[in-house]
């Protein structure tokens, strides 16, 4: 655990670097740092989705176990570490809390209609765009930010969010659309 050659010994490493180290070298120290960052946030995420405390901790362990097992499939050119962990946590909670499958495309499926062209290495782009995204999230008007959080942290489609919060569907849609528009601009770095 006290391996000085471990990338995690260098505290300047990003979460993405740590995740790559786990995938390539099964680096436990790096995994420990990732656990320290993500596990308490995952617990909050699962509690918001209705898990009681003990169950949430068990599920956090399951999610982090998947992070360990799948780390070598992580591609920093495709997604930030936070985005990648979010998708694993989302699928795991659908499986565990709803006992449903999560239908997803298979990127290697020969039947997939391909992109017009393969994008180049987007590693730097991913890093910069997630910084801009975080800043844009902080700047969102509170009513847009509140609905956005419901869309991600409550197990419901937008139509039900509208009903259960007594907000007209049209208002939910227009607020969410405005939020998505602003965040998309930030991700794509266009004014």
């Amino acid at each position: 655990m006290q391996d000085q050659n471990s990338p995690a010994a260098d505290s300047d490493l990003s979460l993405e670097d740590l995740l790559v180290a786990v995938g390539r070298e099964r680096d436990r120290q790096a995994f420990g740092v990732l656990f320290g960052h993500f596990a308490p946030r995952l617990k909050t995420y699962l509690r918001r989705l209705g898990c009681e405390s003990g169950g949430a901790e068990e599920l956090v362990q399951e999610v982090m176990l998947l992070v360990w097992r799948r780390a070598e499939t992580y591609d920093p050119a495709q997604a930030s570490a936070g985005t990648w962990v979010f998708t694993i946590a989302r699928n795991k909670r659908i499986d565990a809390l709803r006992r449903e499958q999560r239908p997803e495309i298979d990127p290697d499926d020969p039947a997939l209609v391909p992109e017009p062209q393969q994008p180049a290495d987007r590693r730097i782009e991913v890093k910069e765009s997630s910084g801009r995204l975080r800043a844009a999230l902080k700047d969102l008007p509170p009513e847009q930010a509140a609905l956005l959080r419901m869309a991600y942290f409550e197990d419901k489609p937008h139509s039900l969010i509208s009903i259960e919060n007594g907000i007209p569907l049209g208002t939910v849609k227009s607020r969410l659309r405005l939020a998505v528009e602003r965040l998309r601009k930030a991700l794509r770095d266009v004014e």
Binding site: K43, T83, V113, Y152, I161
Partner: protein
């Protein structure tokens, strides 16, 4: 192959990315995504939003010993990891007719040449047959096959209905829908599609939760007619 021109739209993509859609509706959205690089890109952006939202959540401390317990599990795991299927796996020939994730739901129903077998189809109305794929509280998700020129009678669905064309096509007041296109229908629409002369095979799913029961739910139901 041409790319689809009818898409789920941002609201459904955000529901899919956040995980709030039921299984059947998720299957419809993901099947469209297999045909549509633009919506794949949009969903990856919305997942990035999910990642950023997760990062800014207030951390809630775990009980002491959680990490140690997990590390002990990693010890028991040994070096074996969950390896993805090798990407150099032989491409099947002929290439599959239906994309993932739909193909997994058709397991056992596909003939050797990748086409859908003749068995298991159930009568819905003249010229229209279906196979149920998912039954859940939200509704039934099914494959529907229509002969050419069949008009679907005006139906009032309690919620929102998603239809993805797989083969052939149909037309309604929004235009014509071909392979990969996703149509969104709700009760405000006088939805009256007619299948193309060559017929149509599509995947049909309903978004759940809109049929509420109980006194409050019944009251609300009167207002959900959008």
């Amino acid at each position: 192959m041409t790319r689809p021109s009818h898409h789920p739209g941002d609201m459904l993509l955000i529901d899919y990315a956040g995980g709030g859609l039921c299984e059947g509706a998720s299957l419809a959205v993901a099947t469209h995504m297999a045909y549509c690089p633009a919506c794949r890109h949009a969903v990856s952006e919305m997942e990035a939003v999910g990642g950023a939202l997760l990062d800014e959540l207030e951390p809630e401390p775990l009980s002491p010993g959680c990490l140690e317990a997990l590390m002990a599990r990693l010890d028991r795991e040994g070096p074996r990891t969950e390896r993805p299927a090798p990407s150099c796996r032989a491409a099947p020939f002929p290439p599959p007719r239906y994309p993932e994730p739909l193909r997994s739901y058709l397991r056992g129903r596909l003939a050797a040449d990748g086409t859908l077998g003749a068995g298991g189809w159930r009568f819905i109305q003249p010229g229209m047959r279906g196979i149920n794929l998912i039954s859940e509280a939200a509704g039934t998700t099914r494959l529907v096959r229509m002969r050419g020129g069949v008009a679907v009678p005006r139906h009032t669905h309690g919620g929102i209905e998603l239809t993805v064309v797989l083969e052939g096509g149909f037309s309604d007041e929004f235009g014509s829908f071909g392979p990969g296109d996703l149509a969104v229908g709700d009760c405000s629409l006088n939805h009256a599609p007619v299948s193309d002369p060559e017929g149509c095979l599509c995947l049909n799913a309903t978004i759940g939760g809109l049929r509420l029961t109980g006194p409050v739910g019944r009251l609300l139901n009167r207002f959900i007619r959008f």
